[in-house]
């Protein structure tokens, strides 16, 4: 929470990128505390690793400070506050987090948990749900990764390569 607030207020973009990394690491720790180890693994690897490298590369290609906004943010602030208040009011109707008879825990989850050892036979139930019971969703996720990569390569992959490029910082 503190990290997120600091992120919004800072204007020096290098510090913002570092705070993103800290935020991801703290989220990964939170997931471990909540017993979601696979999610924590992915969050730590992607958010605190590769994502920071990409953001730093983007920083190297653009400027290092955020520009001052031209308009005062009063109207957007009011809109955001009203929407946020409506959403929080909506969450009052939700059941308590983690109760055993929540709809999220009684719909198909017991069937997956009970049937996974006989039907699929691998010890890691997260993988069995991800790759077998919900394999179609994972296909969609992989397609999203593919599309994102193709989009980025279209945007910034078109530079003509110079012959004899050795990759060091040569003075231009």
């Amino acid at each position: 929470m503190v990290t997120a607030l600091a992120l919004i207020g800072l204007r020096e973009l290098l510090a913002v990128v570092m705070l993103f990394g800290i935020y991801s690491l703290v989220s990964a720790g939170l997931f471990v505390v909540l017993d979601a180890v696979d999610v924590a693994f992915t969050e730590a690897a992607v958010g605190a690793g590769v994502s920071i490298v990409f953001m730093l590369s983007a920083l190297a290609l653009t400027t290092g400070r955020e520009k001052r906004p031209i308009h005062t943010p009063l109207l957007p602030l009011i809109v955001v506050l009203i929407t946020g208040a409506a959403l929080i009011y909506g969450t009052f109707d939700l059941p308590r987090l983690g109760e055993p008879d929540n709809p999220a825990h009684t719909h198909v989850a017991p069937r997956y948990i009970e049937a996974s050892p006989e039907e699929i036979g691998i010890p890691n139930m997260v993988t069995s749900v991800l790759a077998s019971y919900r394999g179609y969703d994972t296909l969609g996720e992989t397609t999203v990764v593919f599309t994102a990569a193709v989009g980025i390569l279209i945007l910034i992959g078109g530079m003509p390569r110079r012959l004899g490029d050795d990759g060091e910082n040569d003075p231009e």
């Binding site: 696979d38 590769v50 994972t138």
Partner: protein, 138 residues
């Protein structure tokens, strides 16, 4: 950066273990935390470390960018291919039971191939994106 001895030696020592760990996470995703996404990202992180220390030219020799770009599509093709194979063998799309004589063995085979596809796509995507960023000059 390859003239700095500490960076060069340390990254050379670390890199085989990083790539081996990525393969371990990929193929032991059924027994512990892990799977295709995590393994792909760790593998890409290893390649990025090599690129940062030894320069883009050496990294391009190790992993040709054309190969990385092909890999993005190859993993997805493998995933859909497994699904199509299940269709052709008589089951539903992505119904791994029909892939072997024993349904449980079929599930194991299907999950193995599918996670491999995901890992290949994620690793190739990250590597291609990083190469695209790194080849650009301001």
């Amino acid at each position: 950066m390859k003239r700095q001895p500490v960076l060069r030696v340390c990254s050379k020592l670390l890199l085989p273990w990083l790539l081996l760990f990525a393969l371990y996470v990929q193929f032991h995703g059924e027994y512990g935390p892990g799977g295709g996404f995590q393994a792909g990202v760790i593998f890409a992180a290893g390649v990025i470390l090599y690129t940062l220390v030894f320069g883009l030219a050496d990294a391009r020799q190790a992993i040709p960018p054309r190969l990385a770009r092909v890999g993005i599509a190859l993993g997805l093709l493998l995933y859909i291919g497994v699904g199509m194979c299940c269709l052709l063998l008589g089951g539903h799309f992505l119904d791994y039971d029909v892939l072997a004589a024993d349904p449980v063995a079929g599930q194991y085979r299907g999950i193995f191939l599918v996670e491999l596809g995901v890992g290949i796509t994620v690793a190739s995507a990250m590597i291609s994106i990083f190469f695209a960023f790194a080849e650009r000059r301001r």
